[in-house]
């Protein structure tokens, strides 16, 4: 029975507790024991992506120390996982726990598919769903095939969602264009960020989606903000919520 240390990104902890619970339920349902070490805060990405290495290093070190004792670390965010796996090298490569912790940190869908070897998840979600391929999961963790690369097409989240009864994954015109969240980019380049978000939403709408889902709640938070301001009927749900059996709020 795999023992999993749960890493819940800071903004999911504070703003989307149910995404955290959906993650716990999914992991427990598939035979994991889950532990949430309460000392955790953030992976350090906001500081690191702004270039403020000095501010990010102690946060990264804190993460390594908190999670060093776990066999696996699972996180319901491709972006935060990519930060740890791909960018901790620049910050804390000299830490004794660096190698072990970073190579044992997994994004949720990746963990379900690659480690637990789950092929399908039972459940029902009778809706038309647009799968937003969050960029860091896609192009840094390779959780799916990026449209730029000439390789066989796959998507770990898509594969899991596909197994649910009644679900219909809609086809987008631009399979994996960025939604424009981009962390601090969302405010420092507000105009472009919002135009990107609205274009993404429009693509899901024209494809007939009722729900937009993604492996990253940050993309969805940005799109939710735009959808709500524009009073559109589209809803957003984290992929963990759908896989854990949640249904959209009426």
């Amino acid at each position: 029975m795999p023992h999993v240390g749960l890493f819940i990104p800071c903004y999911i902890d504070q703003l989307y507790p149910d995404v955290g619970f959906a993650t716990v339920e999914l992991l427990e349902k598939h035979g994991c024991t889950v532990e949430f070490p309460p000392a955790q805060t953030c992976c350090g990405q906001p500081m690191a992506n702004t270039g403020c290495t000095d501010a990010a290093i102690p946060v990264a070190r804190k993460y390594l120390e908190i999670f060093s004792k776990y066999e696996y670390i699972v996180c319901p965010s491709g972006s935060c996982t990519a930060m740890i796996r791909q960018h901790y090298h620049d910050l804390v490569h000299d830490h004794p726990d660096f190698e072990r912790v970073t190579t044992h940190t997994y994004e949720l869908c990746e963990f379900l598919v690659d480690v637990l070897k789950i092929e399908t998840i039972t459940g029902s979600f009778p809706y038309r769903v647009g799968l937003h391929q969050s960029c860091h999961g896609l192009r840094e963790l390779r959780l799916g095939s990026a449209s730029e690369l000439m390789q066989p097409r796959f998507s770990k989240a898509g594969q899991l969602l596909q197994g649910l009864d009644g679900i219909q994954l809609v086809e987008l015109k631009r399979a994996d264009e960025c939604c424009g969240f981009g962390g601090t980019f969302a405010v420092s380049e507000e105009a472009v960020s919002c135009m990107m978000g609205l274009d993404r939403i429009h693509d899901h709408e024209q494809a007939g989606a009722e729900i937009v889902t993604a492996g990253d709640m940050s993309c969805l938070m940005h799109m939710y903000g735009l959808i709500t301001r524009q009073k559109k009927p589209l809803k957003v749900m984290h992929v963990a919520e759908i896989l854990a059996g949640r249904q959209p709020e009426k």
Binding site: P38, R139, D176, S188, V192, G225
Partner: protein, 459 residues
């Protein structure tokens, strides 16, 4: 020219919603064409890998290869010059023109000469320069810089070309029919070609082994421009080198497919020494490239073959336009090259990026563009070129995340306070998030609070 911050320029571009979408669609169309044609080659990813390795090798011995090229080009009868700066480059060009007592120059597309601001320099010295690439000629007539390195006038609508040609060429007012406008341009450019005394071109690939070089165009304007006049001046950045003739095929196969979705450019013109009775002058320009070569972090940006694919795919470039970058080379690669020359002036460019990584995956020579943009951000913060507000907020955030109690306390207060505030206190001009977006609903309890409660109940 005063350089404004990218977000300000971008906001102006985005404000014209129809035009910004038109621009986005036009470039996405090119990206889609690239996808389609790349998919027809089963060895696409292998080609990218090969090209990247050839460039890596080339840069590892660039000095030797440049000298080998000089020797071989000289043997073929060309004259080779070395220019450290744009000023040196421009002086060399001018002196060659003056030696021939010439005043009329035709020029095919060359981003290097744009980078060196050659046209205004020559014009100040009484030389008439005509850009013969249709797109570049359009922006020349408009007195604007190119907004894209492959499609210099991609930001101009055909109605605007109609107006421009009406003004300059006397075409019918309101004419927008592309064949009609192209024919008018062709007629006018023909006169320039026939009257030119000197033909100037860029260089796409220079081959050390042979001393020859290749210029790729779709309009054949480079060929015509150097076939009629007796004197050919070719200007190239020193990173255009490839070692062997047999390496060329790898790049020619990648270049046009990545740039415009064509299998190959209509003309790939090879030049090996001057034509009989003519002269060939080749100017090798550094302009900061050696500095980039010396930097382990950014060296790979010199792999660039100027295909423009990173611009076509960049969601920010497509929605902010090439001019928003205020550099000769815009988009992702430009946002790496510009701060290498002047980090202070171009400090906002590495942040004009959502770090989506599409550029790195589309790049035919596998430059890790988005990682280099991230590296530039570190460099900019390190050199204290970040705005005070950004630096301060990140330092404070770092301090908060180091202290679990502080993070949870601030979170709790925020979630409690925010829903109680009147709307104008949350959504105002200080809140850039809230200009067009709602904040998420604030839950009463955080995950960690609910989780602790659940565990307590279970035990």
């Amino acid at each position: 020219m005063a350089v404004r911050k990218h977000p300000e320029n971008a906001a102006v571009f985005v404000a014209d919603n129809d035009r910004a979408h038109w621009h986005d669609q036009a470039l996405w169309f090119v990206r889609s064409k690239r996808d389609k044609i790349a998919a027809t080659l089963p060895e696409w990813e292998e080609l990218r890998q090969r090209a990247s390795e050839i460039k890596l090798h080339t840069l590892s011995r660039l000095a030797d290869l440049l000298e080998e090229f000089e020797r071989n080009a000289t043997k073929l009868g060309a004259k080779v010059y070395w220019a450290r700066t744009p000023a040196e480059h421009n002086e060399i060009v001018l002196s060659i023109i003056q030696q021939h007592k010439a005043t009329k120059v035709v020029k095919s597309k060359s981003m290097l000469t744009e980078e060196c601001h050659l046209n205004p320099f020559l014009e100040r010295n009484g030389i008439t320069v005509t850009d013969t690439d249709l797109g570049e000629w359009i922006v020349q007539l408009l007195e604007e810089p190119p907004s894209h390195i492959v499609m210099p006038a991609i930001h101009i609508k055909r109605e605007e070309v109609g107006d421009l040609f009406h003004k300059h060429l006397g075409t019918d007012a309101g004419a927008t029919d592309p064949p009609y406008l192209v024919n008018a341009a062709r007629k006018k450019l023909r006169e320039q070609f026939l009257g030119a005394e000197i033909g100037l071109t860029g260089v796409n690939f220079a081959i050390a082994e042979t001393g020859g070089f290749v210029v790729c165009t779709n309009e054949g304007n480079a060929d015509l421009g150097v076939s009629l006049p007796k004197v050919h001046i070719a200007c190239m950045g020193i990173e255009k080198m490839i070692p062997r003739f047999k390496d060329l095929g790898v790049f020619l196969r990648l270049l046009a497919r990545s740039a415009t979705g064509q299998p190959i450019t209509t003309y790939s013109s090879h030049f090996h020494g001057p034509m009989p009775g003519g002269e060939l002058h080749i100017i090798l320009v550094d302009n900061g490239r050696s500095d980039i070569l010396g930097s382990e972090e950014f060296r790979r940006s010199l792999h660039c073959i100027r295909c423009g694919a990173c611009m076509n795919t960049c969601p920010v470039y497509r929605r902010s336009g090439g001019h928003s970058y205020q550099t000769t080379v815009p988009g992702p690669i430009g946002s790496i090259l510009a701060p290498s020359r002047d980090a202070k002036t171009y400090s906002t460019l590495p942040y004009a990026c959502s770090l989506c990584g599409s550029c790195s995956d589309v790049c035919p020579v596998k430059i890790d563009l988005h990682t280099q943009l991230l590296s530039w951000r570190k460099e900019i913060a390190h050199r204290k070129l970040l705005p005070w507000s950004k630096r301060m907020s990140m330092t404070l955030a770092g301090m908060m995340f180091q202290r679990t109690w502080l993070f949870t306390m601030i979170g709790r207060w925020g979630r409690w306070l925010l829903p109680k505030l009147p709307r104008f206190m949350v959504y105002n001009r200080f809140n850039d998030w809230g200009k067009q977006r709602e904040l998420p609903p604030m839950p009463k309890q955080s995950f960690r609070e609910m989780y602790a409660l659940r565990n307590k109940e279970r035990s």
